[in-house]
Amino acid sequence: MLTFTIRRLLFAIPTLLFISLVIFLILELAPGDPLADMPMTIPPDVKEKIRLSLGLGRPAYIRYGLWLYNLFVTEPSYWIDSAFHTHLADGAQRIISFQTRAPVFDTIAERIPQTLLVVGMGYLVGTLISLPIGIISAYKQYSWFDQFGTFVSMVGFSVPTFVTGVMLIVIFSVMIPSTSFFWLPSIYDTTLRVTDWNSFVLQFRQMIMPVFVLALYQAAQVSRYMRASMLDNLSMDYVRTARAKGLSERVLLLKHVLRNSLIPVITVIALGVPSIFTGAIITENVFKVNGLGQQLLLSIQGNDAPMVLTISFIFAILIVLFNLIADVLYGILDPRIRYD
């Protein structure tokens, strides 16, 4: 197991380098210009100086190498400095955004809490709902509950989040008058601080729709896997044996079948964690949550190469990491799986 993990970790390094190179080259080959938004009145020689100050005067491979160096050496030393009050970084150049001229990681740190709160909550709620639905659907196969559950999960799985989000906005923000109790805000207010009960209620109300949209999508996917996995296990011989020796259905279901069926489902849940961040791009735009996904979209539109490169690279790290975690978890949970 350990050698497998180490081998996979070593393989992750070229994978991540390749991904960052792909994104860098796409940005490099693209005809876009980071100075396109600057006023036309700036004289050409000043513009050239601005280009040089952005670091665009150097050849591409040096810029790529510098970005890698900054990401893996300079930035971590800044984090260590701020945590332990050391002086490792010594004022070295950080990764600077073209648009804001501020360190990229400062912006990311501002954006991450909203993403984690809203999108992470959606993921959590969806997963927690989906498990009992999958279990009951499989145990009472072809009952009305199962029929209804599979239909809803098919809908949740097929209808993209921007459609469900927009439909919810139409119903709860447009059709219901804003004086009504059931009216919900369609725009997420990030400046809201939870200090007392009233502001907590406001925060709760503005989170209902985005969390519901994400939870529906997540629950639809996980409950399908849960149901299929439960059905596979319910037809196994050990279930008949357990029934024959007189175990109650409750113990049989929750102790024996559930434990075995959760193994593949847990890996699916782990594999989906990176989608909290990538899938957030759409949901954050529907509900105007100023999270990481929205920042990525803004930076892509503004040709902000360092920001786009860094955020996409963080997404790639998450994908590779959780793929690895899923594989390792599968090996730990299921003794029949041996990687070595």
Partner: protein, 303 residues
Amino acid sequence: MTDRTIDLKAAKPRNQWWDVWDQFRTHKGALMGMFVLGFILFCTLVGPHLWDIDPKLIDIRARAKGPSMAHPLGTDQLGRDMLARLFSGGRITIAVGMTAMVLSLVLGTFIGVVAGYFRRLDGILMRLTDLFLALPLLPLLLLMVMLFRESLVLSLGPENGVFILIVFAIGITSWMHTARIVRGDVLALKEREFVLASRSIGTPARRMILRHILPNVMSPIMVSATLGVANAVITESALSFLGLGFPPDFPTWGRLLSDGMVYINQNPERVIWPAIALSALVLSINYIGDGLRDALDPRIRGR
């Protein structure tokens, strides 16, 4: 391949596709899906001829109107007829979905068959597949469309340029699952006796793949084709919704949805119709895919 057996009427052998159809018919959701998909295809293909208002015709006097006899679904902020826009948008949406699916299927099948059949290429091709699976796809798609849109639009025109770019972008980022499934099936098929027999009479690799391997991996390819269309339609709509898809003159359903968002307080029906159309399309395709998977699986078909 079955023409000959149909001519021999004595034994009345059944074409295997009839078995598939019989199994497919028992899946109610899939039948419903066929019906809905047929209706959508009818609307988008024949609809513009029956309802022949030009979707680009600007009638500024009749702007932002609700439903009426002249405009059953109302008009947008420039007075363009929403029904006509919905029909023509569906055409582009479905065309993008189909073309991107074909591209991703051809790529995936090619890589899957080559990786499964030629052992020397297996390792490198599967590593490549793993690399592509680890890419953050949506950011990459957004990036490709955003950065290359203008130059393609300038050289190929607004509709063709964006069409080619989006189809290409979706195609090369969605072939990985097909490749993995096809490779697995090819690896299993390669060990079968008929392949050995065929190799023993000296069949070259090219003919072996085209005559013996490919027809036998058709069923997983067909299932991934349906799912591929649904996936491509969703991706295209997502790009259009984020404002990075087709220009407003060539509205896809995602674009109509995103345009309607601005006027959601005045004309909520402007987002409802594209949303319903898009959901119905993807849902029906997914149900057909479900039914097809059951119907093409001989283990289920026997029951």
